[in-house]
Amino acid sequence: MSAVVVLTGIAFLFGMILVLLDAYLKKEDPRVEEIKNHLPGYNCGSCGYGSCEGMAKAILENAYSFQKCKPMKEEAKIEMEQFLKEKEIIKKTNH
């Protein structure tokens, strides 16, 4: 009986530590999530960034990376450009 209590207790303690640490360290840029919502979300990787999340991070560094997205339709790309301009991720000097 004591074995069950000890093992469960220790496992629970370590689980809590990991959850708290994860929550503390995973404060991401909120813009990544917003950009991800504008991407198709297939995680196909044909852009070369591995996943839509990788693409979103790449867009933050170089806004026009979204042109590399293959499944995205032309209208969606125009929408994306507008969204990025709104959020000032595409700066006017970039043109």
């Binding site: 093992l7 370590f14 640490l21």
Partner: protein, 190 residues
């Protein structure tokens, strides 16, 4: 056994990699360059130190009083897994380049038997806390030392004319066996 002897014993003559044959996987896998060997060595050292402190107190503070010492293996694995996961989170956040260069070998420290070996040896040899610390420092430094040595030899060999069929891992295995021969004779020197 005095502390200096214990350190020397765990560092060289009973080297964790070359005479106990623990932790061979990262020893072969992450020694393609000295830079990788350094970062892997530091990561393993951190995990060994933290886990031997934690497991020592868990064993004598929780497991012995509740008479559940037969749980030590699974509890120690829990401690090591938790430590490696938290270290991976920290490295991912602050050193993304290290994370990329080590790749799968970083979460695989969990199953690195060198770590579990050191913490179990601490308990089975009935070390005091100070002795356990010295033994862990010696063993992890032994791991780093041997990895760096091995990585430098492999880097040097990259510039040499190795036969096509021996290039890469095969020649590395031969070097590892020669190093083992050298290290096994060191025990007689003391």
């Amino acid at each position: 056994m005095n502390l200096w002897n214990l350190f020397f014993f765990s560092f060289l003559t009973e080297n964790i990699v070359l005479t106990r044959f623990l932790g061979i996987c990262p020893f072969i896998g992450t020694t393609k360059s000295t830079k990788n060997a350094w970062s892997m060595g530091i990561a393993v050292t951190l995990v060994i130190m933290c886990s031997s402190i934690l497991t020592y107190f868990l064993y004598y503070g929780v497991l012995v009083p509740t008479d559940t010492t037969y749980l030590k293996t699974i509890v120690f694995i829990l401690v090591i897994a938790c430590l490696v996961q938290s270290m991976e989170l920290i490295i991912k956040k602050y050193f993304p380049k290290v994370e990329k260069s080590l790749g799968i070998y970083l979460p695989l420290i969990t199953t690195n038997c060198a770590v579990l070996g050191v913490v179990l040896l601490n308990i089975s040899n009935h070390f005091t806390f100070l002795e356990a610390m010295i033994f862990s420092i010696g063993s992890s430094m032994g791991f780093v030392f041997v990895s760096i040595l091995f990585a430098s030899i492999r880097e040097y060999l990259d510039t040499k004319n190795v036969p096509e069929w021996m290039k890469g891992t095969p020649i590395a295995f031969v070097i590892a066996s020669i190093m083992t021969l050298i290290f096994s004779t060191l025990g007689g020197a003391l």
